[in-house]
Amino acid sequence: MARVIGGLTTSHIPAIGNAVPREKELVNDPYWKEFFAAYPPARAWVDRVRPDVVVVIYNDHGLNFFLDKMPTFAIGAAFEYKNADEGWGIPTIPPFQGDPELSWHIIESLVGDEFDVTTCQEMLVDHGFTVPMSLFWPNNSYSNVRTVPVQINTVQHPLPSPMRCFRLGQAIGRAIESYPKDLKVVVLGTGGLSHQLDGERAGFINKKFDLMCLDKIVSDPEALARYSIHELVREAGAQGAEFILWLAMRGVLHRNVTRIHSSYHVAISNTATGMLVLENAA
């Protein structure tokens, strides 16, 4: 049977996508040093557990989806996923392998569980997907890992509630663990932590709230899932609502998890960055 080994989270700021190819020189740069220093231990964990598949829970920022048709939850079921420059020049990197058989199993299971998702046989993945993958698989070394993209709408309100996203994660967890093939699966939730790009409050960061979330998501995620979207926007900023992606990731994991690594850094670009490596209790 397939097993969920653990979960990863990281911010997915486009500026990181531009910095990753220059990481070797930037590890000594005062601006980037602390940020990049957090990743080698996380990569060591990825190397150790060697997942066959990564389920990537992210938000599209207007590359694949537009307002003409805006799914709340969308799942990729393609053989391959490509990125694009998104209009402002993020590097295009080698395509990501899909696992359509597992995707369809998850889709069947989710719809059976009353999560009526949109299915995508063609899907461009944007920085919400690619930046975390290139952080945890440096030098684009992801050719041996297959991916299942799970996209959650954070562009157009109403967004799905934090509790709904947490429960979606739980349903994805049940789906994976009922898949008959022996696979090691890691779930990656991207985005966050506090940040706001638009309005007169642009640049808002809330360190106290972020640190509380980094702590509680390990021990008591349901307490965080009880926030409303409006409260998340107020406490974490307009784009800090991306924390719902972390909650969906956490839902996939078991109730008891071990925190392997975590980091928090203010700021890269307009964002307070956070990273977590969690392992399912045996």
């Binding site: 207007g62 537009f66 307002l67 003409d68 209009g87 109403p158 638009d198 850094h265 307009n270």
Partner: protein
């Protein structure tokens, strides 16, 4: 605690991009979405007026685009994720865009960001 009780209280300096805004800003956002393609960015730069007409921007949206005024674009229904693609044409980052909206120099905006980590 009833966590829903404060849901309707507005958050100062924050715009919720909801259905109402999405309808109002549809043409503007659709134009900005088109900038995912390099050839559309080139077409815009070649003849900005013609490109805005092609997407049916209203006068408020056209003025905001002409003046490169991000807050005015948001008031006209713009969604920051699409507007970022417009800003990208001119090599502007989210920090430039943030500083413009707050009405402060970019260097001060950057300092303000870092100071929130203390």
């Amino acid at each position: 605690m009833n966590v829903g009780a404060h849901d309707e209280l507005p958050i100062p300096g924050t715009y919720i991009f909801d259905g109402k805004a999405a309808m109002k800003g549809y043409a503007l956002n659709k134009m900005c979405y088109s900038f995912n393609e390099a050839r559309n960015r080139e077409e815009f730069l070649k003849d900005e007026d013609a490109y805005c007409r092609k997407y049916g921007l209203n006068e408020e949206q056209r003025k905001a685009i002409r003046e490169r005024n991000v807050l005015a674009m948001i008031h006209a229904g713009g969604c920051i994720y699409y507007l970022a693609k417009f800003a990208g044409i001119f090599g502007l980052t989210v920090q430039d865009v943030g500083a413009q909206q707050r009405g402060m120099p970019v260097e001060d905006f950057k300092k303000m960001l870092q100071a929130q980590g203390d």
